[in-house]
């Protein structure tokens, strides 16, 4: 006698129970809806991470200002003073790119750490796990917007005054956040399974930093490399930020449009990748 068949205790509305139809797109849509339901958690995670990250330091929130400025000074001393090749507005030129690059690095590394740190919660509670990387990206974006304000102020002594073009930072940053979210989702899901991921991206980012026009203008790149070099979306993004801050002009809209389209694709792929793997997060030994 098999217990489940003959036992009268197992009477129930089983006929009405059909296995749910599941597909990756359906799961992804479910994740989006759950995220909306858990927006309260998302808000709490963002605000608590912004509040706690510098809470044990003497300077506290001043680090929001100090971080980009100190980075800028290191490179200004290194390249401007030691190598002696920098124009008068070089500090602003690199600071514009540094804060944008920091958004990418902070968001991605924070996301990779978040999925590891919240392992226990992921095993015990049913919440939309994409919230973990999303909260990191939002936190990093808030940092960026703050740093952008600092940038505009710091630029004044260099004779660069803010203009209405600076408002275009919102659409440009939106493109970058879209791209960054896709990357952060991908990296943070992978990091659950391969802890090396977190280590590897540190070096990938360091290499990317020098391969992107942070410390030098695009014009120093030999023309024959440009077709490949320009595939880096940060070539376009840095260019756009510099246009609105330093040149008081519109960014190159056609290349920004292409980067925006590509970023949406990266976001979609990163989201699907994360959703595909996340059911296994809680099943790891």
């Amino acid at each position: 006698m098999t217990a489940t068949q003959a036992d009268p205790a197992v009477a129930g509305p089983f006929d009405l129970l059909a296995p749910p139809k599941r597909s990756l797109l359906r799961d992804a849509w479910g994740e989006v809806r759950a995220t909306a339901r858990y927006s309260h958690l998302l808000r709490l995670l963002v605000s608590s991470s912004l509040r706690t990250e510098n809470s044990n330091t003497v300077f506290g929130f001043f680090w929001w200002v100090l971080d980009p400025l100190l980075q800028m000074m290191v490179y200004v001393i290194f390249i401007g003073v030691i190598l002696g090749r920098a124009g008068p507005d070089y500090p602003i030129f690199i600071l514009t790119a540094i804060i944008s690059w920091e958004l990418l690095v902070k968001a991605t590394q924070g996301s990779a750490a978040a999925t590891l740190r919240k392992e226990r919660a992921m095993r015990q509670v049913a919440f939309p796990k994409t919230i973990l990387p999303l909260s990191q990206v939002i936190g990093a974006a808030a940092h960026f917007m703050f740093a952008f304000g600092v940038l505009l102020v710091v630029a004044v002594p260099f004779g660069i005054y803010p203009s209405a073009y600076a408002l275009l930072v919102l659409p440009i940053a939106l493109v970058q956040v879209t791209l960054t979210t896709g990357i952060a989702l991908f990296i943070s899901a992978l990091n659950v399974f391969f802890r090396d991921t977190g280590k590897i991206i540190t070096y990938v980012f360091r290499m990317g930093f020098y391969l992107s026009p942070v410390l030098y203008p695009v014009t120093v790149v030999p023309d024959r490399f440009r077709p490949i070099y320009d595939l880096n979306p940060f070539v376009t993004l840095f260019d756009a930020y510099r246009a609105i801050v330093m040149e008081h002009s519109l960014p190159d809209l056609s290349s920004l449009g292409i980067v925006a389209g590509g970023s949406i694709v990266v976001l979609a792929l990163g989201y699907l990748f994360f959703v595909r793997l996340q059911t296994s997060f809680a099943k790891l030994v």
């Binding site: 217990a3 036992d7 197992v10 509305p13 089983f14 129970l17 509670v125 049913a126 802890r195």
Partner: protein, 417 residues
Amino acid sequence: MDGLSDYAVVAKDLGVKYDLRLQRRRTLRHTLAQIAAGDGSATLGRSEFWALQGVTFALRRGEVLGVVGMNGSGKSTLLQVIAGVFPPDAGALTTFGRDATLLTLGTGFDPELTGRENIYLGAAYLGFSRLKIESEVDAIIEFSELGQFIEAPVVTYSSGMRARLGFSVAVHLEPQILLLDEILGVGDAGFQRKSQEKLLELTDRAEALVLVSHSDRLISRMATRVLWLDGGRVRRYGETDEVLKEYLERSYDRLDQHQPEIGRGPGMAEPVSAQEITITRVFDAPRELVWRAWTEPEQLVAWWGSRGWTALLETITMDVRPGGTFRVTNVYKDGIEVPQEGVYREVAEPERLVMEGPHGVSAVTYTDLGDGRTEMVLHATIQITDEMRGATEAALASSFDRLAEQLASRLESSRHK
């Protein structure tokens, strides 16, 4: 015909699969080595593992489902899938839109935040709205007895304070379907009594309760139905008394599969992996005395189990010979009971004792150091999660501390004679 609204949880041919190729703490080196070896799954034997298979049951509103089975039988996985931590890989499961929540302590807490902030955070992880949290926050704080410490960061709390806060959050946000992995007891005696009462109140109010426990007394007291899991499949499902009776009989019959375990904790994640634990102790006592402490019930009760646990003399069966039975029940304060069972594999008085159980084998060797002291080496190969390893080692260490004290006091009293 029953209306659908009479049911709280219905599962039909439920299956949950683990992909053994995806493992945490797997490094790139490990994976590359496997690929180099030709087949990623070869080193693991198989690439997937069904933690649950063909599980069918229907739980009505107002019922309490007790889930029994040995470690690794899929009990925790069942709670996870009902809680919605992951979807089933086969079959179907529904709670008819009700929320089902596993009662855990301090899930999602951020130690840098204050106790009050963590109440909001922990509750948000459980999916509760801000309004619901705000209406409960004062009651939660009061229940936790943390007073002004509620405004201090949780990192400054003692472990007891943390547990109290975690418990208070968990029991004030009443889920419609409550999932319990062992009855939790936290804090000092006073708080424990209070928390047990609150928990019982909560189980009364929930529309349905699913309770996993190793204590057959607790199951028989609370459950209206029992689901017996064996290797991820339903062995038996039905009325509490019938299923429990058969389960207990079967457990005692199949002692080969049982093994002593000292101080298990709730919430084990499955599946498990083989862990090697070696503990060496030198006791200031002759070997014969150490041997007797391990093999005589009256001696064993004085130290068996980590501090806080009590082994009950009347529950002990010790048939110290190869193939003989070992059985003892440990009680924590007056709440949790953990029966432990095993079988002696090797008995070489007074040098070596080997016991086997469902988790693996523990071998203990005793060496006479010649100066009145005895070196004891415990070598265990057991199937537990990495997470449980630390707890198991700590429990063993604590138990051996008690053994050392017991031996010292025995020597003391014999000197006085």
